[in-house]
């Protein structure tokens, strides 16, 4: 630690920031696509029909029950080459993060919707609202408020977990931190810098979510 080299951080900073942009990009894509897929999965999970319920339950259990690292490797070496006949680390990263976060957001959706008291539905229906209206105007507004903290948590976890895709050489922040380690064979400089950048990302996201939560309440 005594010979901490700021010069190599200064040299690598532009490329680390470029990597940070990709980290933000793949995390954001994972959040967006994951939420959409998770919404579908969440409703499938709550469906009374076995042909919706069973596949979604399998999906959710599989992606929550296996490590993201294994999923990343499986998508990169298996799924993407199978579909495209070539490898594409960035696409593999987005697909893996999407599939993984969908399983978690599905459960957040389900928990949020099921947390709204049954009496609310009954009351709305007895007022003459249709089931769609009940969902849209009565249940979802209440459920979404309760989902926000859990979503925020999931987004932050996703940003941190996106560092795992460095293993398939997707050129994001962690990948360049590893490159820096490889070039100079030193650890403190790349990893302290990377952790500070990750911290800035997650901390500002949590502040943003807090602000949003206050506004909605």
């Amino acid at each position: 630690m005594t010979d901490f080299r700021f010069d190599i951080i200064a040299y690598y900073l532009p490329i680390l920031l470029k990597g940070t942009l990709l980290t933000i990009g793949i995390s954001f894509a994972g959040i967006i696509f994951g939420s959409i897929l998770g919404l579908i999965m969440g409703f499938g999970r709550m469906s009374s029909k076995a042909y919706f319920q069973l596949p979604t339950a399998c999906y959710i259990n599989f992606f929550r029950g296996t490590p993201l690292l294994v999923q990343v490797l499986m998508v990169h070496f298996g799924l993407i080459p199978l579909l495209l006949d070539r490898s594409d680390p960035i696409l593999a990263a987005i697909v893996a993060l999407t599939l993984n976060s969908a399983a978690y957001t599905a459960e957040i959706f389900r928990a949020g919707i099921q947390s709204v008291d049954k009496g609310q539905t009954e009351a709305a229906l007895s007022l003459g609202m249709t089931r769609r209206q009940t969902m849209r105007y009565i249940i979802l507004p209440q459920a979404i408020k309760r989902m926000i903290p859990a979503f925020g948590n999931e987004f932050i976890v996703l940003i941190k977990d996106s560092s795992l895709v460095a293993i398939i050489a997707a050129p994001e922040l962690m990948y360049y931190a590893n490159s820096m380690r490889g070039q100079y064979m030193r650890v403190w400089e790349p990893y302290i810098t990377a952790s500070i950048i990750y911290f800035i990302l997650t901390y500002s996201l949590s502040k943003l979510l807090n602000w949003f939560e206050k506004r909605i309440n």
């Binding site: 010979d3 490898s87 293993i167 050489a169 064979m185 030193r186």
Partner: protein, 287 residues
């Protein structure tokens, strides 16, 4: 709640299922495209050859910001210019390299300080050798370790899947828990630095670079010519690749015309001793 039909969501699921049904026909052109690429590489020289590397072996190959750099990369540039081939080097990591080059669909070659071994020859084709190397033991100053046989009962760190791993597995026994296998050489070298291992075994160039970069850590490199034979690096191809015939003469020319010595001087600061390498090339040519 239970009987509710979420029409929009069912519609969404239908869309996804339909698009899934649409996938098989879309998949059809894929095998056709891959055979196209296969024939293209055998008929024309215009196609860009994708070369894989694991850029974590400074000074052989490493990432300088977002540019792959190092001895191997400069050497490859000279060889490809000589052979008149278009190429592109991509850093994809060691395990991905081994897997991709084996399949040979996307990456037609790899350069990454890959030692030519008999085991690897069963799965891959190799170019003629282009670099002489050996494994080196790195220990802390004042260590009692003097040769590879001293390592038998010590804790040793290596990079997984390298020749150092193979050598040390033979000396220490397969699956020895005292042999710590890491994802990269740097991690193995750090393990010693941090006191988690008594020694590291890695390629000589990598160990020297590490010692050079960390002058305050009091590290020593030990060569052991009796237990560690010379190894020779080669370009790695899929089995029976037609690239070998195109690139081998170019490698020979680059070594003979002095371009090789120039690149060697640039990265290692000394002139190369080519006696062993040239003998090995002759051997590889006749066998």
């Amino acid at each position: 709640m239970k009987k509710t039909h979420f029409l929009p969501f069912i519609a969404l699921i239908m869309v996804i299922m339909l698009s899934a049904c649409g996938t098989p026909p879309a998949k059809d052109p894929v095998p056709a495209a891959s055979t196209d690429a296969g024939t293209a590489s055998t008929t024309t020289g215009d196609e860009t050859i994708k070369v894989a590397t694991d850029a974590s072996y400074a000074p052989m190959e490493f990432m300088d910001l977002d540019k792959v750099s190092g001895f191997d990369i400069d050497f490859l540039a000279a060889v490809m210019a000589e052979a008149g081939l278009k190429y592109e080097v991509t850093n994809i990591g060691w395990d991905t390299l081994l897997e991709s080059v084996k399949q040979g669909t996307e990456y037609k070659a790899g350069i990454s300080a890959v030692s030519i071994t008999d085991e690897r020859k069963e799965t891959y084709s190799f170019s003629i050798p282009y670099f002489e190397s050996t494994n080196m033991i790195m220990v802390k100053e004042g260590s009692s370790i003097k040769s590879a046989t001293d390592l038998k009962d010590k804790t040793v760190a290596v990079q997984n899947g390298t020749t150092a791993d193979i050598l040390m597995s033979k000396i220490m026994g397969q699956n020895s828990t005292n042999l710590k296998k890491f994802d990269s050489n740097t991690l193995a070298l750090l393990e010693l630095d941090n006191g988690g291992a008594d020694a590291v075994v890695a390629d000589i160039a990598v160990v020297r670079e590490y010692i050079k970069n960390n002058p305050n850590n009091k590290l020593v490199g030990i060569t052991d010519n009796t237990n560690f034979n010379s190894e020779y690096y080669g370009l790695i191809y899929p089995k029976d690749s037609d690239l070998k015939a195109k690139i081998d003469p170019a490698i020979q020319t680059v070594i003979d015309n002095g371009k090789y010595a120039e690149i060697y001087q640039k990265w290692f600061g000394t002139a190369p001793d080519l006696t062993n390498l040239k003998a090995e090339i002759t051997k590889a040519g006749t066998s």
